[in-house]
């Protein structure tokens, strides 16, 4: 299925860009006329994925993070967050609730939140090569909503 619209952004793995990334995703999603709750869910999922890339992809260095947003005709929004950092050695372990290799500012709930707020979450990662998280959510139909 071809996307109706698509954007791709690239930014440095600075924590100040977490807010930028979720605001950009919310602006893109706004053209699909989402509910406030859906918008909150999308922003939260983006925040989690981008934070993971910054904290775990590039723990001691700065690197490149990419955010790709795609909108499909059936009101599905696809969000892809990719980094070219350290990668995750054990993806299944990383998905477990409360598991974290971060400091005490991390709760280990990032993937649990992404999975709760999105319809599907796919993680591809290779140690030393980076991580790619692709998430999809089908937005509710809204009367009078734009295509």
């Amino acid at each position: 299925m071809k996307p109706v619209n698509s954007v791709k952004l690239e930014f440095l793995s600075r924590s100040a860009n977490e807010g930028f990334a979720r605001s950009a995703a919310a602006c893109f999603a706004a053209q699909m006329d989402p509910t406030l709750e859906e918008l909150g869910d999308l922003k939260t999922a983006v925040s989690e994925a981008v934070t993971n890339a910054i904290v775990h992809g590039y723990p001691e260095e700065l690197g490149k993070v990419s955010l790709r947003l795609r909108r499909y005709e059936d009101r599905t929004l696809e969000i892809r967050v990719q980094d070219w950092g350290r990668g995750i050695p054990d993806v299944e372990k990383a998905r477990e609730p409360m598991f974290t290799t971060g400091g005490e500012e991390r709760s280990g709930m990032g993937f649990t939140i992404m999975e709760s707020f999105m319809d599907a979450v796919k993680i591809r990662s290779r140690p030393g090569r980076g991580t790619c998280v692709t998430m999809r959510k089908k937005l509710s139909s809204r009367p009078g909503g734009r295509l």
Binding site: E48, I54, V55, E105, S107, M109, G110, S116
Partner: protein, 103 residues
């Protein structure tokens, strides 16, 4: 720092404002520890009414506050948690571990 603190006898109320994410988490955590260790409150109220966004960094902050208050033998309560932040807390099951209420 977008954080205000008011202490009445042994009750401390914190009004959290703005967006709580990883970018602000370290500063908020340090502030929390400093306030709790200097005021030693019997009850800590985290007032979320001014929070416009929260991700899982907020969960870590609430868990940290919960541990600090446990160590003091005190009580932690979250008040006026907006819808988006509440969904994050519920997804993590935190609403079952801490007291939630309106002001």
């Amino acid at each position: 720092m977008e954080l205000t603190c008011r202490s009445r006898s042994c009750k401390t109320r914190w009004k959290l404002t703005g967006e709580i994410d990883h970018h602000r988490a370290q500063a908020l955590s340090r502030e929390l520890e400093r306030e709790v260790s200097t005021r030693l409150p019997g009850e800590l109220v985290l007032d979320f009414s001014g929070v416009t966004f929260m991700d899982s960094s907020g969960i870590a902050l609430v868990l940290r506050a919960s541990r600090l208050m446990e160590e003091l033998g005190g009580r932690l309560r979250l008040e006026s948690v907006p819808g988006q932040a509440l969904r994050v807390l519920k997804a993590a099951g935190i609403h079952r571990r801490v007291e939630l209420g309106e002001e």
